[in-house]
Symmetry: C3
Subunit: 431 residues, 3 copies
């Protein structure tokens, strides 16, 4: 792939982008998404697409556009006890506008807290049922006194459009790698500002390289976004040969890879290879139809080879979908580690070719080409010589370099370099 | 399947039938079998078949019919030291008639005991070698003094017929489930009065239901019975899609399922699923050509998908084939447990269909149909929602509901109910 | 196979042959190989083949022939401090002739020792790079004083030929079993004088038997020898149905079997069966393209079903390729054990047929043929009866006797004898 990347320095930039995006109130539609994608456009020439409210997308319909400007709850003394300006999670996402005075008993029907995590404000949505509500910490809830309250939400839910971003890097072939991240969560750093920001800088880096595959990056609201994108791009999805959903990649948890529905797609093998050789703990998950947008990419009518790369998976870390998924949870070092693994996976995908041994009958004489140690009889054969023997022996047109790396228990990069060398000596031919 | 069953109450009835059948001296032919099947006829309208002595059945020939009325050994003081009337196991099954006085030394050649289990009388047979003998406990044997003995067996071994019972419940299709139990053992409660009695009440219960499959219950002497049945029904065995041999299902041992020769038949998967989710210890055995009538059903010329359901397998519990396999070994609670598992297996077989997702591209919108929780963002998705996602994702015409239950690690019944619901909403179609 | 072999007595003969061959200085070419093969000819009528220097063999060329008569290093007092006559490993194999006086500093560039194993002289070669050198123990090296030394190697490296031996035993069919051992190592007892000697006596024994397969034994220098043999016999290698490379089979290590590249060849299954039932520790290795001549036989253009039988594999025992691989490392008891296993593997290969059950519908009646115990009901069925049931049940033309032995967990010999018996009774037919 060629150009060096300084992962540590890039991870600082990723973190800065996360920080810049953090205050914006996003949802599945609305100006928060647009503002977010505008930030991304400072780094890559992302195309923004608008899909009108009411557009049918498979079994779904693009919903009304939601925008919010302000919201609070005031007590009878006029004090804001809940304030959207301090934390946008306080408003139930997609809340209808409201402006009225109500008693505590009535108000409580519209309040959501998590008794188990009394200090944290939950993140909740109501996209498809028209209502309004406030989220607050359980400690806040316990302190609310009997009183008359003014509830105010300055939002609009009107015909408009759903916004998503798309960025395409053409490669040598029109076969594509799809990288997808969701853009619909408000002030939640790991889920999924980390995903948005890492995808942005990954795209920026890849755009500088000469690539075999074309790369398509999509920045979409979860569920309705991938459904909309698939509905609009149905005719072209056959080009997608590999794909990754990027989510929750900035927290301290160990890396998780969730396999595609196929279970043995090349992207699955590549991701597993990288994690297995990372020297760190990791988890490989079988496909399940619950999670992020892989649910749609891997629905039976598409069954695309798309896996999901995470650190802590949704629902498994305590801060998930609360105000504690903030800029302290995410750290540049974890972003750097995730980016390193992404690059390793894509490096395999880019280079995982099959070759034909041009001297398939017996080993070729490596020594006369200067490829083999001249003094025989030694106990330790060099790794590089072992790699040559493996590549030559398995290059019968059936096994890919990744297959060879797996079988020989050698690093993919060593196998790849070895294949390059053998090809230079006309001992190997790509097939 | 529909009608409720009170398993505990039925297991009491099963136990009562075992108790009623226990005193009868059965063999592979003869009136003991007829009397036994007459008892069964009090519960289900079993058809009795008689196959004449000498009838060729594949490589075998239906043997002479054996009947016994009395037998004993008397010492020189006229005391019965062994008495068939007290325990029919005392006579070597299929013994020729005898009436003579002999010395101890000669008598001993006709006595069988088990030194390892000195209190128990063994059960032995000599169907195909004409001889006579007595079985007794080893302690009894040790006490026999030097004396002249009168040995008396009032039996007949003459041309007659082999008797078996058959009961058929027609279902929606003429594809069949075969349930087979052996009827040839005399006073042995677990092997196989428990099997006979459970099969009887299982058949009675199933006869009240609307069933997809037709069910065929056969009550046959071991080996020669299944061979005879297969020889007479060879033309129709292709209809058998699933089958179970029922044996030793009343003792306290853990459940064992022995796979069919195919090893991955649907009945195998269903039985394994039930045992794996039973919350109890269990054993899955690979097929072997030694055991009960699955030996014949799974002979290479038939290779039927027939497994064997047991608690303690033959030869592995100390009471096996001795007088200790009696009414104390078998208990209603174990019968109830076995019956519950049988019903669970048949429930899977009856309902294990394949469906086609009618919206295979992306998930259908479950929320607009009231099938999905309206408030998003929560950590715990309900099991029922997960089940919907699994059924939709895997219903591509390849995976059965059992496959989906296995892969999702959810209960078959939940998967089945979910499929029913989705079908009502036209989201799924049987294929 | 028929004629009895006294493995212990033969293993003494094998050890004697090893002892006789030990002093000879072998290499990949030259008179040492010829002398070695002459010894073998005292036991089997081995054909010697000479292939001229310069002959192209695939990507290789037959090298010049190397012969050596004497070599030493003398100090300025005329004392031989290194003497080829005492140990031929002292000379770097394929050293050019030399006769000069040099200072210690220059000499050291030509000395090889192993610091980790200070008492042992290493074995090293330089077949394809023209140079000269001496090998010595590290303790010897440390004692060498600053001095002027006379280095003398009386060798020739000239056009000549490469010598190998071949012995063929015709069998009932022209399908072949290949047994290959390498002949190029000088005074190294385990690697591979043990292999040469065991192969010799194995061939001698097999030549007395009536065999299904034809057997081809080749005695070749490592790498260049198998390449040469394959180049000259390319047209006939399709006849090779099974093969073994024999190496390092005389040391105390546990048995190792390295699978063929195919991984599931019949020879692989047979060798694994033998080791699994040996009652001893053993190791099964996956194929790798590093090792002995299986590298060539299993190159992708040939991919022959050839595995490798060893005790301690190359590079894993401390004495490997040093002067400590001597007549004390190898012992008759280990040779006997290896020979026993070879014979067991070949016994399987010779007898591993497939049969068709002639009564595939239900079990045949074994009792009427006297093949089955007459008294029924016993807990312990005899192994022989179990074997009959297994052979009958699995003989559907798909499973070989080895498959049946594996599945039934019974000894191959019992399965084989059982099949013979059943065939005598026309219950089985070879297919």
């Amino acid at each position: 792939m060629g150009i060096e990347i300084d992962v540590n320095s890039v991870s600082q930039e990723i973190y800065q982008l996360i920080s810049a995006l953090y205050p914006i109130c996003r949802s599945i539609t609305g100006d928060g998404v647009r503002k977010t994608l505008n930030f991304v456009q400072q780094h890559i020439s992302l195309a923004l697409h608008e899909v009108k409210t009411g557009t049918p997308v498979f079994d779904w319909t693009v919903p009304k556009e939601w925008n919010i400007r302000d919201a609070y709850i005031k007590n009878s003394r006029g004090e804001k006890i809940i304030d959207f300006q301090k934390l946008n999670l306080h408003v139930l996402n997609y809340s209808l506008p409201v402006n009225q005075k109500i008693q505590l008993e009535e108000l409580k029907k519209h309040l959501i807290s998590i008794p188990d995590k009394p200090d944290w404000v939950p993140y909740r949505t109501s996209y498809y049922k028209e209502t309004w509500g406030f989220c607050l910490s359980h400690n806040q809830l316990l302190q609310i006194q009997d009183d008359e309250y003014e509830v105010y939400i300055d939002s609009t839910l009107e015909d408009g459009s759903l916004t998503y971003g798309e960025y395409f890097i053409p490669g040598e072939t029109d076969e594509e790698v799809l990288i997808s991240c969701h853009t619909c969560h408000p002030s939640l750093a790991n889920d999924n500002l980390a995903g948005i920001a890492l995808t942005t800088f990954l795209a920026q880096y890849l755009s500088q390289l000469k690539l075999k595959y074309s790369y398509r990056f999509i920045f979409i609201p979860g569920t309705i976004g991938s459904i909309t994108w698939l509905a609009r791009n149905e005719a072209n999805v056959d080009k997608i040969k590999h794909g990754l959903v990027v989510t929750c990649i900035g927290d301290p948890g160990k890396s998780h890879y969730k396999k595609s529905r196929r279970g043995n797609a090349e992207i699955d093998k590549a991701a597993i290879h990288v994690l297995q050789r990372s020297g760190q703990d990791f988890v490989i998950q079988e496909f399940s139809p619950y999670g992020y947008d892989e649910r749609q990419y891997c629905s039976p009518g598409f069954n695309l080879p798309v896996g999901c790369f995470m650190r802590s998976p949704h629902g498994t870390y305590p801060q998930y979908h609360t105000s504690a998924d903030n800029l302290e949870l995410v750290k540049p070092e974890y972003l750097a580690d995730s980016l390193t693994k992404f690059l390793a996976v894509l490096n395999i995908i880019e280079n995982n070719k099959k070759y034909l041994n041009q001297n398939p009958k017996c080993e070729p004489m490596l020594g006369k080409r200067g490829l083999y140690s001249a003094i025989g009889g030694q106990t330790d054969t060099k790794k590089r010589e072992l790699a040559m023997l493996w590549v030559l022996n398995m290059s019968d047109g059936e096994s890919s370099l990744l297959d060879i790396a797996e079988k020989s228990d050698l690093e993919f990069d060593l196998i790849k370099e070895t294949a390059d060398t053998l090809q230079q000596f006309n001992l190997l031919k790509e097939c």
